[in-house]
């Protein structure tokens, strides 16, 4: 009982009202002939499209593929980014040698590598993962590196006075102290991974939600194109919420707020 009340009060009613208003204006403008586009479906048509793709079962296969690519690509990007970020954060020498390369590579729009990935791996999942991992790596790497260099020198001295080994210092001091920064990188990377997966599916790997959008566009079904776009948006919201709540679980006491 109490739980339900909590959820109801947490819902942003004014925010939802704005969205509803936008949809209503869209619907009315089309029906009243105020806006005339051949291939712009009304929200009601998109809703019917959603029901259609949900009913055919195609939606689940497509969504599952994209979800799988995003999660796998993101996990690989986070793992690689955290390891590289820790190494770079820990070693001044390594930073001196690598920082210039990072600053050159990082601002490059990662999606520009898509044709290269296509040449290397063909129309495949590997191609899609490469397109996801390379750009999604940077936010994690840079944030982890920044978080490690930002760990207060005092904490390292605490590790020394208690004669902690290198592994203990990493596990008990550096990683938890850098955790909030790593998390920021991981969340940025998650958002990026979804965008990249959809684009990779549009231009390369012919499966998943991104391909579905292109497929329905070629089938001249704008209502289904929009329905799939809605699904992609929902997937983004769900992934972000899942990550946020997974992190909130062990930090419910509010330690994250104070850890920096």
């Amino acid at each position: 009982m109490h739980e339900r009340e909590g959820i109801l009060t947490r819902v942003n009613w004014p925010g939802l009202a704005t969205i509803a208003l936008g949809l209503a204006v869209w619907e009315i403008a089309l029906r009243a002939g105020l806006a005339q586009y051949q291939n712009l479906p009304a929200p009601s048509a998109i809703a019917r499209g959603l029901v259609e793709i949900a009913g055919s079962g195609q939606l689940y296969a497509d969504a599952l593929h994209t979800l799988w690519s995003v999660v796998v690509g993101w996990a690989m990007a986070v793992t690689t980014g955290v390891v590289l970020g820790l190494l770079l954060g820990a070693s001044t020498t390594l930073r001196r040698y690598c920082l210039a390369s990072i600053e050159v590579l990082r601002p490059m729009p990662g999606i520009a590598f898509a044709p290269v990935a296509l040449l290397l791996f063909g129309f495949s999942l590997e191609m899609e993962l490469m397109v996801i991992i390379l750009p999604a790596l940077w936010p994690v790497l840079v944030n982890t590196m920044g978080a490690v260099t930002g760990v207060h020198a005092r904490l390292f001295e605490i590790g020394q006075t208690f004669r902690l080994s290198r592994a203990e210092t990493l596990g008990k001091i550096i990683l938890p102290a850098a955790f909030p920064g790593i998390l920021v990188g991981a969340r940025l990377s998650m958002t990026l991974a979804l965008v990249l997966a959809v684009v990779a599916e549009m231009v390369g790997n012919p499966s998943g939600l991104g391909y579905a959008v292109v497929r329905e566009q070629q089938a001249m079904r704008p209502d289904l194109v929009f329905a799939y776009v809605v699904v992609i948006g929902a997937l983004g919201v769900i992934l972000n919420a899942a990550l946020t709540s997974a992190v909130a679980l062990p930090t419910a006491s509010g330690r994250l707020r104070e850890a920096t």
Partner: protein, 270 residues
């Protein structure tokens, strides 16, 4: 590290924990190396409470970091248990002034205190040691709290408990009470003296507060100048246990206080 020279080991007394001979320290600055300590010779006996007092900028912190194995000497020798120091020595724990940076903010009080014991003792033993250390600093009721939920004085007690939990032979304290209000400070001073009596640890305590140095110490080393030198070492022949009101009104306390003020002031005006 080379083997210790025979004359030095022969001269070393067995009950000395630390022995510094002619120690100088230079720290690198943007404008090249700067000498922070000059020709320091100082001993710490087992069970002794040595306070080091001096104005800021005289290298007090560098001296205690030297003993903690966090800073290296440029010249001279530092021996710990009759062997040349090489990194942070076993059974020597330093307690820092800035408790908020020294505590692991993501860990509970109990888990902070357990830091030096994890992986070295069985679980049950760790719990017993943590409970004991928290009892000693009167924080048993806050074992499950996080540091940021505690007051400054309580956080500093967590840091002290964490040091005590490993049962160190020597406790190095770098102005541990400097950031605390007068009442908390007095309470912690008495707590520290009581803990020393219970644990039999040796203590090196750095402070810029002359009264604190006299009240706590068995001996007071006065450090002055830049680079810092030991100006004088004074035996504190005040009765124990010390008492915040009685001890501080003893003529001998006032005498010692005057003596130390004079020792510090002399070089400041020279």
């Amino acid at each position: 590290m080379t083997a210790e020279s025979p004359d030095r080991s022969a001269a070393a007394a067995p009950d000395l924990v630390f022995s510094c001979r002619g120690v100088s320290v230079e720290l690198s600055h943007t404008d090249g190396p700067r000498r922070v300590l000059d020709d320091i010779s100082l001993d710490l006996s087992r069970g002794e409470f040595l306070t080091i007092v001096g104005p800021s900028g005289t290298g007090k912190t560098t001296l205690i970091r030297l003993l903690a194995g966090l800073t290296r000497s440029t010249r001279g020798t530092v021996d710990v248990n009759n062997r040349p120091i090489d990194g942070p020595p076993e059974d020597v724990i330093i307690v820092f002034q800035d408790y908020s940076h020294a505590l692991l903010q993501w860990r509970t009080v109990a888990r902070n205190v357990a830091l030096g014991l994890e992986g070295r003792l069985p679980r049950g033993e760790i719990k017993a040691r943590v409970d004991e250390a928290l009892r000693l600093v009167r924080l048993s009721a806050h074992a499950g709290d996080h540091p940021w939920q505690l007051s400054g004085g309580m956080q500093q007690r967590v840091q002290i408990a964490r040091a005590l939990a490993v049962r160190p032979a020597v406790l190095l304290m770098d102005e541990p009470f400097a950031a605390l209000d007068a009442m908390t400070k007095a309470a912690l001073q008495d707590e520290l003296l009581r803990l020393r009596d219970e644990t039999r640890s040796s203590v090196v305590f750095v402070t810029h507060d002359i009264e604190e140095a006299v009240y706590l110490g068995d001996r007071v080393a006065v450090i002055t100048g830049a680079p810092g030198r030991i100006e004088r070492i004074v035996e504190v022949d005040l009765p124990k246990p010390r008492d915040q009101i009685v001890t501080r009104q003893l003529p001998r306390f006032l005498e010692l206080r005057y003596l130390l003020h004079h020792a510090i002031g002399q070089t400041e005006h020279a």
